[in-house]
Amino acid sequence: MALDLNHIRSLFPVLHQEVYGKPLIYLDNAATTQKPQAVLDALSNYYSKDNSNIHRGAHALADRATAYFEETREAIKIFIGAKESAEIIFTKGTTESINLVAATFGRKFINEGDEIIISTLEHHSNIVPWQMLCEEKGAILKVIPISDSGEIIFEEFEKLLSSKTKMVSVVHASNALGTINPVKEIIQAAHKVGAKVLLDGAQSTSHLDIDVKELDCDFLAFSAHKLYGPTGLGILYGKREILEAMPPFQGGGEMIKEVTFEKTTYNEIPFKFEAGTPNIGDVIAFKAALDFIDSIGKKNIKAHEDELIAYAQEKLSAIKGFIPVGTVKDRVSVISFGIKDMHPFDVGMMLDSKGIAVRTGHHCTQPLMKRLGLEGTVRASFSVYNSKKEIDALAEGVEKIARIKNK
């Protein structure tokens, strides 16, 4: 089913503006997606009608806010196919979700000589927390190599697995290249040696249908702001038995059952991991983002984005001097590239002057860029509201820029 793009675009106020006197073409969706009016309304409604602290207040507003807050948790449960909403923990973002697991699971279950496996494709936020843990515990970080096309080499991953492997933490879809990893196979192989698996779903959750029960991942980390939701809100899914076995993350209100100066007992999950007043307004507004996705349908979104990616590849590949980076067919809607003899910064800035927003640089994946022998790339990333017409403008812009050095 073709999407009604005019209707979808009408729901996003930010898209209807000019930059430098030219219509905005927003192709930086892997960094953050724009927000539909319904999300903005939900934020405004919460603060104008329901604002109050949740779970404790003995009054009407607190009841309403608590109910809406927990409705979002329930909606996320359904969105990712979790068994129960207690397995959904609210954090600040994907980064905090990964740090939470590294800090708590790591504190209890990772010991000297244990091994943690990540891949070459990882974002810094799925590298540094594990490095910190390894340093603290004397554990060892192992890295799955990738092919030149940007895919992890599965046989090499299998060779890294052993009884020492305690955690495999890999990106579901690469933010820099778009590569979708064979996570189901990774999870199965890791479970065979008794390791737990965390998926960095920052890029995958907005594009792929995800069912954590079917995948059987132990953790899934992602961010609301890449899913048409507000910034500053992340989600950590974890299997109940693992979350229960983990010590708390931060101490404070909400996460306790009973506090005496001698000893504190902790609350049940998910509250055990949600110390302090949470990001109530953004959590409530995120429900509107999930409803927006539902109203269009994940499959329709994916089909539209696949069409855009195929179209962009076809148009851009025809340009003299165009160098694709990451050539995997199975990918989310990210296209990374370079222009012969030009620096990505220059290309990005020139595109910006044409009103086209892309990202340039190392995309917080410096080890990946080093592996590919690049300083950085230009990255265009598409979302449900992007059109072929916008890709025509991108291709036209890139063509004109490339011609400077590629006559």
Binding site: Y20, G21, M342, H343, F345, D346, M350, S353, I404
Partner: protein, 143 residues
Amino acid sequence: MNSIQDIQEEIISEFEILGDDKESTIYYIMELGGNLPEFPEESKIEENIIKGCQSKVWLTASEEDGRVQFQADSNTDITKGLISLLIRVLGNQTPEAILNSDLNFLQKIGMGNIIGSQRSNGLVSMIQQMKRYALAFQAKQNA
């Protein structure tokens, strides 16, 4: 010999011709980068890199007949264009003139809007480094 202020006026009028068109302005700055003299590969070393720039910028300076000569390069063309503007203004001037200069052309041509805040910080670092060289040569002259 044109004074720093004369050269700044020249640049301001050149940018006035470009008007508000961001695209032509960026292309123009890139083009300017092409006019930078060849920078020796052997000088592209860590100690010549200007800290605080998003892209790599190498800068060296020498003194000839009491005037400071700058040589620079960058891995990005826009940055090369920016530093070529600075060299056009501050190059071949006396250390005193460089140290006393007020680079008001940047504000007048709206450089902050053209290149954005992140690159503007880089530009400030370049100017600081050029003034540091001037200070060193001044100290040498006075020694």
